[in-house]
């Protein structure tokens, strides 16, 4: 029989996981060039909610963790195509061969330098996402890279680099669902882009209208440049998630967070027993440290069990 046995009910495990979930924070940015436009995102998110289930097969299932986007800014940029007034024919070619026009009126063009339109659409709060994780609890023994060869366990504790037993949730699957994009997102995108383009048009309103009359409705210009489908929400989802790789970025971050960076819990080895004693270590005396061996973890549908032996 193991020297030490600790068991935590499913409720207790949820408390452990809640602390881990609450400490989660994700931030990322990326950009890319596409046919006719550039796009980029800047995001920051945390996790809330979710249900945790310990399963009879030894796995842990975390379902429907809400990804709360504190920041989800999508930046779109594109060049407005050159627009010219004039260029019409003053003297047409009377003959059926050759160019149609002999003498043309000069073109007066705007946007010849291909000015950029760039807008940032704040989508945080307008997009709801959920992540679900299924994984196993695994133990790892960590030797701190800062621990030098000459250090004994007490030197390592003093230097803040003790060895540790760690328990991680090692995901087998991470599912990210982009659950819903608020209907307003499409309107917001169009409104911001339209305003940005209008602001670029020169002169008084009659001149803007003269240009727009030739340009056509800005919304259609935008649609053509961005090749927008009817469902702008779906387009944004694909742009963010697939083209810019946000979804993979989150998935990989979650994987790394739980599997490698943040253990559900960890203990020092050897364990400084003074933490458990009522008498603190007197000054000058070494803390009493107990070696922990054979640290294992098990899960069933009722509880998580940790067993270990005291080393010789």
């Amino acid at each position: 029989m193991s020297h030490i046995t600790i068991a935590a009910s499913e409720d207790a495990f949820r408390q452990l996981f809640a602390a881990l979930r609450d400490a989660f924070s994700f931030a990322d940015s990326n950009s890319g060039s596409f046919a006719g436009f550039t796009a980029g995102y800047s995001v920051a998110a945390h996790l809330e909610g979710g249900t945790v289930d310990l399963r009879a097969d030894g796995t842990v299932q975390v379902k429907e963790l809400d990804v709360k986007w504190d920041v989800l800014d999508l930046t779109l940029g594109f060049d407005i195509p050159e627009l010219c007034i004039g260029g019409w024919c003053i003297i047409p070619n009377p003959f059926p061969w050759g160019d149609d026009c002999w003498v043309e009126f000069p073109k007066i063009c705007v946007f010849s330098a291909n000015p950029d339109v760039s807008v940032t659409i704040p989508l945080g709060g307008l997009i709801t996402s959920e992540v679900s994780i299924t994984g196993s609890l695994v133990t790892k023994y960590r030797i701190d890279p800062g621990r030098l060869a000459w250090m004994d366990d007490w030197d390592a504790q003093d230097a803040g680099v003790p060895n540790k037993w760690q328990v991680f949730l090692d995901p087998d699957t991470v599912d990210l669902d982009l659950f819903d994009i608020a209907d307003i997102v499409g309107d917001l995108l169009m409104s911001l882009l339209t305003t940005a383009i209008e602001d670029l048009l020169p002169g008084p309103q009659w001149l803007k209208d003269a240009i727009l009359a030739i340009l056509g409705a800005i919304v259609d210009l935008i649609r053509d440049i961005l090749d927008l489908p009817d469902d702008i929400g779906e387009w944004i989802s694909d742009l963010l998630g697939v083209s810019l790789g946000l979804f993979n970025s989150i998935v990989n971050f979650v994987l790394d967070y739980f599997a490698a960076q943040n253990p559900i819990f960890e203990i020092e080895d050897p364990y400084p027993i003074e933490k458990a004693a009522s008498v603190p270590t007197p000054p000058g005396l070494i803390p009493i440290k107990i070696p922990i061996r054979d640290f294992t973890i098990g899960v069933d549908d009722k509880e998580m069990t940790v067993t270990a032996n005291v080393g010789p």
Binding site: I85, G86, W88, C89, I90, I91, W102, V103, F105, P106, I108, V110, F111, S112, A113, P115, D116, S118, P171, D172, T173, V174, D175, L176, D177, L178, F179, D180, I181, D183, M190, T194, L200, L201, P202, G203, P204, Q205, W206, L207, D209, A210, L212, A213, I214, L215, G216, A217, I218, V219, D220, D230, G233, E234, S237, D238, I250, V251, N252, L255
Partner: protein, 246 residues
């Protein structure tokens, strides 16, 4: 990002009057050159000489037109062995196209054969014999047209632009004859940006002045500049990402 001023000449906004004898960006003179030979031209602005250029009308030339930017008259003249360092070349019966590409304009041209100083030069302030004065007006409103050499008068009405869903190029230019009897037709209704070509059958200096602008009060007419309709049926967007297989 460039400011609107830098991408659109401010003179296009501020200059509403047009004068064939003082060219600006919105006006072009087309003059046909019939005689073969070399011609010298002087560019005049505000009564002062602002530059010169040479034109070589040659049967060897394949150019149907020589486009002269009066704000930079020598810019595109090519080297030639014609007695001038650089000259524009055009075929006989080719066209001399006089335009202004930048700045406030106000240019005119005096052009004559270089080997006959006594010949009557072509004076762009006095168009005649098939010369054309082509213009495009941007600012909506009512304009008065007058031939200051004959006293003839006419009207142009430029309609306020109508912004539609799709791009819309202006209709074909309107041709107006300048005759001894006056302008034919004497009234023209055009759209902003549409062309007008005054074909001079008599001696003409055509001046166009804005009589009554139609600028429309701000937001006086709510027009659709942008719009988007939600698709009739929408499902919740769903995208799944699976991590690498273990």
């Amino acid at each position: 990002m460039m400011s609107p001023e830098t991408i659109f000449d401010r003179y296009l906004v501020s200059q509403t009057d047009l004068d064939s004898g003082a060219l600006t960006r919105l006006g072009v003179i087309v003059h046909q050159l019939s005689d073969v030979g070399r011609f010298e031209a002087k560019v005049v602005r505000g009564g002062r000489s602002e530059g010169s250029f040479s034109v070589m009308v040659s049967e060897e030339s394949h150019s149907a037109q020589a486009r002269i930017d009066l704000s930079h008259p020598e810019a595109e003249a090519k080297a030639c062995e014609c007695g001038a360092d650089h000259a524009y070349e055009v075929m006989p019966k080719g066209y001399l196209v006089l335009l202004v590409s930048e700045g406030p304009g106000g240019h005119s041209v005096l052009l004559g054969p270089s080997d006959d100083p006594k010949a009557t030069p072509f004076d762009s302030t006095q168009l005649m014999g098939g010369d054309r004065f082509a213009i495009t007006i941007l600012r909506p409103g009512t304009y008065g047209v007058s031939n200051v050499l004959t006293g003839a008068e006419a009207r142009i009405k430029v309609a306020y632009p109508r912004v539609g869903r799709r791009p819309s190029a202006p209709p074909k230019p309107v041709q107006i004859a300048c005759t001894e009897q006056g302008f034919v037709p004497s009234e023209a209704n055009v759209r902003a940006g549409q062309g007008l070509v005054y074909v001079c059958r008599t001696s003409s200096r055509i001046v166009i002045r804005l009589l009554e602008p139609d600028d429309r009060a701000p937001n006086s007419e709510r027009r659709l500049l942008a719009g988007w309709s939600r698709p009739s049926a929408r499902e919740a967007t769903r995208a799944r990402a699976r991590p690498r297989q273990r």
